[in-house]
Symmetry: D2
């Protein structure tokens, strides 16, 4: 299945008065990792694949995460992300964030493929993932 | 058990190019709700109770959340938060976010009470929740 | 001219490891204040006025801000915002953030009215502010 | 004088419903660039130099920024940052953010060196920048 690893740094502005990462920031990191993973599978930037497949994104329907040890500003972490399931209109991605090889946080996102609602274009509605996208996501 | 409801608005800057809330923002909302809940239980602001009980905070160890329908900028939402478990050094809080009475998002946070690590004050370490705090949190 | 005051609280997640507000958060506060100001002038929520006047927003072209004293989590601040200039396609808003009556931060935003670029709808382009909007903004 | 250039990407979560960067995110970018600049000058990570020079940070006292053209998610931008002034307890940094060689945003931060207030360690107070730091910052 599709898999990708990227490095990033926990920044001062990601941390709270306790000096550790403010936990919603992990989900910002995971969201970027998901984008990178799909960009690599589809061979296009997100702005391009939204247009190519005429859809609005893949918002979350569920997330589970465990935080095993805190990270702090200046920590250089690595995030390994993998597609672990791909259904008709949803898919699951697992993220594992490590610091110096030790697992610090992990999360599983369930996301749904959505387009504009024809009845109200300011709203979104789930849609089947195009067969070509499924093929590319599951080929790894 | 301890319970609190507060209203807030989803803002423009909380939303992404799909026009809906960027999901890490929900956790920022939940974090504020947890603070409000504990402030009410202890009768002090967070900056005061961190000092009164000489601790560094209650970071997350686990979170689970479901997003049932998207919210958009300008949506006036209500978040009901309740303490659902309180152990020796950790506690659980459930948040239910509704829009016009309909459940839009829900999450369960597991948090751990931490203090400065005596061996390295830039680090944190879990600690028993003071008996007085447990009493106030579980009295409701 | 148009003027509005609102109260808000600096939150834990708005603050950095020094225990004070992380300065980009002030601009998130100012952005909300600008939305509230325009909502009051136009008698509609932002999602409604974007549609009513068929435009994409009013991004910043310039900002100047001074930070006179830090604010910290739990601080209940007041933000007074006023329209101070309104041109053909741009306008200026001044924000003054006070803590217990003392000026803590102030900023002046210059914003431009934009619509979708007809040549490329993923891009934006400046446009004249509708006369009706100018009238409402400058009536106060 | 001290100067540094780094590359980064504007992310989906940095952008608003108009599809362009939400302007407070530029200041998060600038803050990271300032950290990188000072880390290079001092040869230490921020967590280390805060300890080495026993201070709490260098919060903003003033900022001016101009936004010349919007950036969008997926844009690979370059930020050039330079120290342009260094006084007794404050310094100025200029940031220029370019997209494909075209200036998109620029900002000048004035920051002040602060330590814990001896009278109340939860508060901060300006302090002279250590001579050794001034020397390293101004050597370039």
């Amino acid at each position: 299945m599709l898999r990708n690893t990227r490095k990033m740094r926990v920044e001062w502005g990601d941390c709270d008065p306790a000096g550790i990462i403010f936990y919603p920031r992990y989900f910002e990191f995971f969201d970027v990792s998901t984008t990178v993973l799909i960009e690599r599978a589809l061979g296009m930037k997100k702005i391009e694949y939204l247009r190519a497949y005429d859809f609005a994104g893949y918002p979350l329907v569920e997330i589970r995460a465990k935080f095993r040890q805190p990270t702090r500003f200046g920590d250089d972490v690595e995030i390994e992300s993998a597609l672990v399931a791909c259904g008709r209109s949803s898919f699951k991605i697992e993220h594992r964030l490590t610091l110096a090889g030790v697992l610090a946080a992990e999360g599983t996102e369930t996301r749904v493929w959505v387009g504009r609602d024809p009845a109200d274009p300011t709203r979104i509605k789930s849609r089947p993932i195009p067969a070509e996208v499924v093929a590319r996501l599951t080929q790894g």
